[in-house]
Amino acid sequence: MTPERFEQINQLYHAALALAPIERAAFLDQTCAGDEALRQEVASLLAAEAQAGSFIEATPDDIAADLLAEPPAATTVGRRLGRYQLLSLLGAGGMGEVYRAKDTHLEREVAVKILPPQLAANPEALRRFEREAKAVAALSHPNILAIQEEIARHISESLRLKLSGGERQRLAKRQTTNIEAHQLYLKGHSYLYKADEGGLKQALEYFKQAIGLDPNYALAYAGMADAYVYLADNSSCPQRRRSRWRARRRRRPWSWMRR
């Protein structure tokens, strides 16, 4: 494709994009009259934009909020979990639900916190939950509610039974134990999908810093490979690169969640 041809396609694509979807076909008929190849090229770019648009508009925060807003599995008042009878719901949030419950062995009231299923399957969330439970258990005052961490274990055990061996292995696998390296990887990943050279260079820098903190961080090396490819691609044809990464994002929309 010649540079002139590319520029022609680029201009038509953006002009069509500025129109309402219903007007685009007529616009292309008129402007591409007699040049079917040109019409098909612009139409395919518009179709790719229409498919990718709704997903790209959703930020990772939106997706996470949707996930966390899912209703809890079957943790309802009146249900018995081990020796604890759930009496009433005290509160609920993104990190779980807290119930007033009765310890049927010791005949006393306790507070029971239950993780949502998506967090109960996450080893890091379970560890954080255990730390929280230990911190509260270290406090002793009649007005401070005791958290019963074994409930979380009970639920995670139930979930584990539903997972196959491969799934269990995959969930338990940790790409890095260095939190700072993990955060740098996430930052790099967010910059990776920016459509400009500056963003890609920033992504590359974050991946390098993550590898500096954890030289065995395979996921950061994979991110670095992506950044190099996109940078090389970006310098030759930004429009083509943008379409390509959108297609790629559709293939693995959840990769930003990997650790």
Binding site: A218, L219, Y221, A222, Y228, V229, A232, R248
Partner: protein, 31 residues
């Protein structure tokens, strides 16, 4: 550099989907 990074990722974790995906993209575009 992209290829070396993808290969290093696979050397560290041969089951990593992201690394296979990156290497496949490189082979598809440049080989």
């Amino acid at each position: 550099m992209a290829r070396a990074a993808a290969q290093k990722a696979l050397e560290l974790d041969e089951t990593l989907a992201e690394a296979h995906d990156a290497l496949a993209g490189i082979k598809f575009q440049y080989d």
